[in-house]
């Protein structure tokens, strides 16, 4: 049974930072708690693929100097989805092809967090290469949901979500190409942010679909996400697609008045196919925002109905190209170690790009993508943010999705369109079903409007306490 209130790692980043800066606790205390939690709970959860050598983590914790000039992240244990290369720490992207891969360099996001004083404790389990929404498509044991061990954690950043909600780490960096931060965040009842494409450097992130991939924070609250985002966003000379736009001080501007703000509900998302309990919870959330002065408007984005097809044609094509590098020559083991789901995606991508089919499949999907972008732009003329579900129904039991390839893809319908258009989206807890399973919602913003969606999310988390609830394992 969790005794969450006595666990230090369950406190917010700003609380921990205050305690560390005033020397009431030490970073070593936090790292000790992190490893103890991992050792006691991870045999059931499988949220980690690799635990960093304890002596290295303790070394970092012992040597760190935390004073008033330090980042709020200094001294705090965190984890990375195993899609981020970490020098001298094995990185697998969830698949046996890279089982023995020890990167010779660091992902930019890790370098930035290290420079801020964060302490890496391990690499999280994931659907291999990002291919999945359940953390079942992994070579390293299916991850289990702390809320119900027979259910999935969601994915592909499922290990990150499980390790945060179970108090093993304060926060993690996940990766979202079609929902892979938002899906597990909702399913595990934490907060996760898919940033605007280019807001955070992708250097060192093992690529799934390069025009869709995004690097983002996962944590227990919107306030935590804002603090982490400040540390990791920004131009990186090593990532030519990273944005030159300046980075806001997100955590300083979370308080806001929602009076006069408009929240759009895309009508194509609220039709049959969406579980009634989920719909009820989302409409209640909309009402909460109305209480704070916001206005709810209905918008229409007709091409949402093609979202899954457009996404998968593009993502599978891009992944077939990105995974061509794993040829067991410079690194990695043989390609036959790819899982059936990964092979399916590579082969369908190959098909969609092949002579005779590329025009009517891949290129057409890229045209449909243009229409979707235009429709989102038109919707945003009527509102400031969009409110949307994350998954269509109840959290699935382990085994349901991995054995049904078509259903596995359709589960993503609310998240994939956002990657196609490159917009930011915040996933936060919105309530619980009648059988105590978490339900989350998305707050989708205009390009580079991370500040705005974080504000909406922060207001919601001050009115509600869904995000404070914890699983009793």
């Amino acid at each position: 049974m969790f005794l969450r209130r006595t666990q230090m790692l369950n406190k917010s980043i700003s609380e921990l930072s205050k305690l560390l800066k005033t020397r009431q606790i030490s970073s070593v205390d936090l790292v000790k708690e992190s490893y103890a939690r991992i050792e006691s709970l991870d045999p059931k959860l499988h949220s980690f693929i690799t635990i960093r050598d304890k002596k290295d983590a303790f070394n970092d914790a012992e040597n760190i100097v935390i004073d008033n000039t330090s980042s709020p992240l200094a001294g705090i244990p965190f984890s990375l989805k195993d899609a981020y290369v970490t020098e001298n720490v094995r990185t697998t992207a969830g698949n046996k092809v890279l089982d023995a891969f020890i990167p010779p360099y660091n992902a930019t996001v890790y370098t930035l967090l290290k420079n801020a004083g964060g302490i890496l404790v391990g690499k999280n389990n994931q659907d291999a290469w990002g291919h999945g929404g359940s953390t079942e498509n992994t070579s390293y044991q299916t991850a289990h949901n702390p809320w119900d061990l027979e259910r999935i954690t969601g994915g592909s950043s499922g290990g990150s979500a499980a390790s945060i909600v179970s108090g093993m780490v304060s926060f993690a960096i996940g990766e979202d190409t079609g929902g892979s931060i938002r899906n597990p965040s909702s399913i595990c009842n934490i907060s996760g942010l898919k940033v605007t494409y280019g807001r955070v450097s992708r250097y060192g992130a093992i690529a799934y679909a390069s025009s869709l991939d995004s690097v983002g924070p996962m944590a227990k609250s919107v306030e935590d996400l804002a603090i982490i985002l400040e540390a990791i966003a920004g131009k990186d000379p090593k990532d030519a697609t990273s944005s030159q736009r300046p980075v806001d001080q997100y955590s300083l501007h979370l308080q806001t008045n929602l009076k006069g703000k408009k929240i759009g509900l895309p009508k194509e998302f609220f039709v049959e196919g969406l579980d009634p309990q989920c719909k009820e919870i989302l409409l209640k959330a909309a009402k909460q925002f109305e209480k704070e002065g916001a206005e709810i408007v209905e918008v229409s984005i007709p091409y949402l109905r093609y979202g899954v097809s457009i996404y998968y044609l593009i993502a599978m094509s891009e992944t077939s190209s990105n995974l061509a590098r794993y040829d067991a020559v410079r690194y990695g083991d043989k390609r036959e170690l790819f899982s059936p789901e990964t092979m399916r995606r590579i082969m369908i991508g190959t098909y969609a790009l092949s002579a005779g089919y590329a025009d009517e499949l891949y290129k057409k999907a890229q045209k449909a993508r243009t229409v979707l972008i235009q429709e989102f732009d038109q919707a945003f003329e009527k509102c400031d943010v969009l409110l949307s579900p994350v998954i269509p129904g109840k959290i699935r039991k382990i085994g349901e999705l991995i054995n049904d390839p078509v259903q596995n893809l359709l589960e993503d319908l609310y998240t994939v369109p956002i990657n196609l258009v490159g917009l930011p989206s915040l996933a936060i807890p919105a309530g619980f079903t009648s059988d105590d399973l978490p339900i989350g919602m998305q707050l989708i913003g205009k390009k580079f409007a991370e500040q705005e969606i974080l504000q909406f999310g922060h207001v919601y988390q001050q009115m509600t306490d869904w995000h404070i609830r914890e699983p009793g394992m």
């Binding site: 023995a100 891969f101 020890i102 010779p104 360099y105 494409y197 280019g198 025009s211 000379p237 030519a240 697609t241 944005s243 030159q244 093609y306 899954v308 097809s309 457009i310 998968y312 044609l313 077939s320 061509a324 040829d327 067991a328 020559v329 410079r330 690194y331 990695g332 083991d333 043989k334 390609r335 036959e336 790819f338 059936p340 092979m343 399916r344 590579i346 082969m347 369908i348 190959t350 098909y351 969609a352 092949s354 009517e360 499949l361 290129k363 057409k364 999907a365 890229q366 045209k367 449909a368 993508r369 243009t370 229409v371 972008i373 390839p405 078509v406 893809l409 258009v421 490159g422």
Partner: protein, 97 residues
Amino acid sequence: MKISIKNLAQLANLELSSSQLQTLEESIPSVIEHMDEIKHLDLSGVKQTNAVIEEENVYREDDVEHSLTQDEALKNAPNTYNGFLVVPYVFEENTDA
């Protein structure tokens, strides 16, 4: 049109066992069928979106920077010889001299 899973596997550099081949032959067609709806959309005159970024032609300074040493670059390679990567045959081995 019948999709040859075997051909796709070859294009994708995947050597499949017969059971892997069977699993894929059974599961791939229904996924492709679902995505066929894109074929019927009228998108004449619409431009492709290849990227959703604002910047174009991002350059770096023409400065020599530290990169990986040869050892670092080779340390994960399964097969090396005198500081080189050993690669599989590209063409067939020619046994007539």
